[in-house]
Subunit: 200 residues, 2 copies
Amino acid sequence: MIRIIIAEDQLLLRGALAALLSLEDDIEVVAEANDGLEALKLIKLHKPNVLVTDIEMPKYSGIEVAQKLKRENSNIRILIVTTFARPGYLQRARDAGVTGYILKDTSSDELSQAVRTVASGGTVIAPELSQASWVLPDSLNDREREILRLAEAGKTNKQISKALNLTLGTVRNYLTEAMHKLGASNRIEAFRTARENGWL
Amino acid sequence: MIRIIIAEDQLLLRGALAALLSLEDDIEVVAEANDGLEALKLIKLHKPNVLVTDIEMPKYSGIEVAQKLKRENSNIRILIVTTFARPGYLQRARDAGVTGYILKDTSSDELSQAVRTVASGGTVIAPELSQASWVLPDSLNDREREILRLAEAGKTNKQISKALNLTLGTVRNYLTEAMHKLGASNRIEAFRTARENGWL
DNA sequence: TTTCATTGATGACATATGTCACTACATTTT
DNA sequence: AAAATGTAGTGACATATGTCATCAATGAAA
């Protein structure tokens, strides 16, 4: 029997996933979490074999949960079920020891099959991601990432420089550098590209 | 018996919604659509009582589908189930004759109850929205909207002016005006605010 | 220890953005 | 017909943004 926990903040989908997976003879849903923090607590409590989780959730993202579990040398298997086919997400997920990554645009059959594969030590990657767009490596550094995030929030260079205790000129330099790395010709293109690739 | 069609592009959620609603004795799922266009075709074919639909879908959005149905004087009831609590969406949905608007973060019980209410001629609005709706009226005009959309895509004023056959100065004037209306101090804040309110 | 990479800074420059007052014209309203 | 409204434009101005070459301090690697 494969014991699983489901972490997903959309109640409707969470309930549905639980219902669908409970129908399988070899799968038992032992708990459901509404956010990353709750997921961690429930995992410690129930020691399931597999965590089926969304990425974008309150408290901790699915990727952060995976990172924490890895740091604790947990031997739980993780299957991420997300809307976003973002190369950067997949990259970080794999680095965090995640062995399953599928999209919400798959069938319930594929979902339960993925749970089984992951539970038995296998790897499942959504076909949309397995080949495509590896091409761009994330070359942004932390400063560039921070600055892009603030730019995305509508901050001016001056506000960014105050927030990060940097000079106005330095902020502009980092932004220029980020734009070059991303092939963007202004800050808006830059943070959009970074966001779409899952680098923010 | 309430005959319904479900339109939702995420396969997993669509299947789950269908499964959940099929469990109810008084509800029958007669078809499922993957996008707005398919939904319209299936409605003509099956003449269901209620359309349960997402907003953000390929081909036509749920709101566009509602608008087309209204123009054809269809007497189908529409229940929108969406992730987004955006006042502007709700506003446009109501203008299109939609009588149900709930969030994906509700329970399956509330969902089936909402279907019944809408089917019998009632109205259901997510509580998160029923108050917030009239906070800010959407005072943007079409030009401002277009320009904000292009700005959001990372276009410069010059590119926008070429795309819309306007003068550079005119584009800047519209942008300034939009920023004033939205209480924003630059284009990024402007299109973010507009987007969050569902005005783009 | 010398070299190298990283991180942050400066200054000068061109271009883009945002602000405002005012104009012009066509279409509605009154 | 006169007034109001909507749509687009001009010009002048200040500030923000993006580009580059160059410099300095620090810490890690050779």
